[in-house]
């Protein structure tokens, strides 16, 4: 596969959320605001890209019996690096991102890509795969975040777009709304782009 194909497959054709149903917890938890979704998406993309690169780099020396521990350690290390960097250099963003950094470590997309791709492919390809998976994940989060913030708060990225006449839908602020939106999104995409097997 070419690098472009790796990216497109990872981001769209085999998207982690709508195709592999991974990363659902965070897709439900953080999508009530678009800014939260964007920050989470950027953090996951960065961690996916660098952890994929590193796991691939040491894949030939990693013993099979401890590979998952090694992958978790590397992922956690990169997430902590992101956290420390933001705290020291972008404290305002770090303050907004606060609770989401920890959630990146538990995101199953990272382990999924590490196990399915990075542990079997070259470092650069693994990095592109990580960026692709991160972009695909971010797009889903932003789409859900757009619907939830618009109807739940009447705003987009914190900017009011619906006037005082708009009555906010409280259900959109709560996690259950993400269940419905995500389910509908997966349903629509599957019907439109993927043919049923058999």
């Amino acid at each position: 596969m070419t690098k472009k194909q790796i990216f497109i497959t990872s981001a769209f054709t085999e998207n982690s959320v709508w195709r592999q149903i991974l990363g659902i917890c965070s897709a439900l938890a953080v999508t009530n605001l678009m800014m939260n979704s964007l920050i989470m998406g950027l953090g996951v993309t960065f961690s996916l890209a660098l952890s994929g690169f590193t796991i691939s780099l040491i894949r030939n020396w990693t013993p099979r019996s401890v590979r998952m521990m090694v992958q978790t350690l590397i992922i956690a290390a990169y997430v902590i690096i992101v956290d420390i960097f933001l705290k020291a250099n972008m404290p305002d963003i770090s303050k907004q991102l606060g609770p989401y950094v920890g959630l990146i470590i538990t995101n199953c997309i990272l382990m999924g890509r590490a196990e399915a791709f990075a542990s079997q492919n070259k470092p650069l390809d693994s990095m592109i795969d990580g960026i692709g998976a991160g972009v695909g994940y971010s797009l889903v989060l932003l789409l859900i975040g757009f619907i939830r913030e618009l109807f739940g708060f009447g705003s987009i990225f914190g900017i009011k777009v619906l006037g005082a006449w708009w009555t906010p839908w409280s259900i959109m602020v709560m996690a259950p709304s993400a269940f419905f939106i995500l389910a509908m999104l997966i349903w629509i995409i599957n019907i439109k782009y993927y043919k049923p097997k058999g």
Partner: protein
């Protein structure tokens, strides 16, 4: 002697894991240590700015400056007007704001329990400790988009110039929660955050407990 390559022995995974741990923990330790002074300096700055912000309107009314210019002239303005103090019996970080000889009030670092963890706030009181000048929540672990909205300006603005002592009974004011968006009809009604009743109640409880403690250090809650 066995001819088994080292990579296939039981020791290899242990040694490999150990090396990986040393490398990554080392990188994290170096990165954290090198960033620590910047992180601590930022935390100290933002903490002091919050104290200044609580008293900025009062300072502006006594000087020719606006609240914005007072905040913009940090740290000089902080050093001129705010002083860390220790009030007798009160085991809380305490500060006093004064403009010349005129005492503006006290600021206390208070804490309580939220829905998911502890929360901490700075509360500014008048010199007689009976009225709140304002409050800022600087640490909380509530649900983003729901309980975390207690840090938003519309919620915190409700505590500006809020009597915390009931003048009739002399006891700590009992607050009543009203739905978000409903207009408050008396100064003891607080608009709650929609979908975060437990968090709003936790804020009210934190304020009540801590005001009670500040007024009765020997009988109130302990730090």
């Amino acid at each position: 002697m066995s001819n088994t390559p080292f990579k296939e022995t039981v020791f290899y995974p242990v040694v490999f894991m150990l090396l990986i741990c040393i490398v990554f923990v080392g990188v994290l330790a170096v990165m954290f240590r090198s960033s620590e002074p910047k992180i601590k300096a930022y935390q100290k700055d933002s903490y002091q700015r919050m104290i200044l912000e609580l008293f900025a309107p009062d300072l502006a009314s006594l000087s020719s400056d606006t609240p914005e210019t007072i905040l913009a002239s940090y740290p000089e303005s902080y050093n001129s007007y705010i002083k860390a103090i220790q009030l007798p019996g009160i085991e809380r970080q305490s500060f006093q704001a004064a403009y010349g000889d005129s005492l503006l009030g006290y600021c206390f670092d208070i804490g309580g329990k939220g829905l998911w963890g502890s929360m901490r706030a700075l509360v500014a009181l008048t010199p007689d400790l009976k009225k709140m000048k304002g409050m800022l929540i600087y640490d909380q672990m509530e649900t983003p988009g729901l309980g975390a909205r207690i840090s938003e300006a519309w919620f915190l603005d409700q505590f500006k110039n809020l009597p915390v002592i009931d003048l009739n009974t002399g006891q700590v004011q009992r607050f009543e929660l009203i739905p978000e968006g409903k207009k408050s009809e008396s100064n003891h009604q607080i608009m709650q955050v929609t979908g975060a009743t437990i968090t709003t109640n936790s804020v009210i409880k934190m304020i009540s407990d801590e005001i009670n403690y500040i007024h009765n250090p020997s009988a109130g809650v302990r730090p």
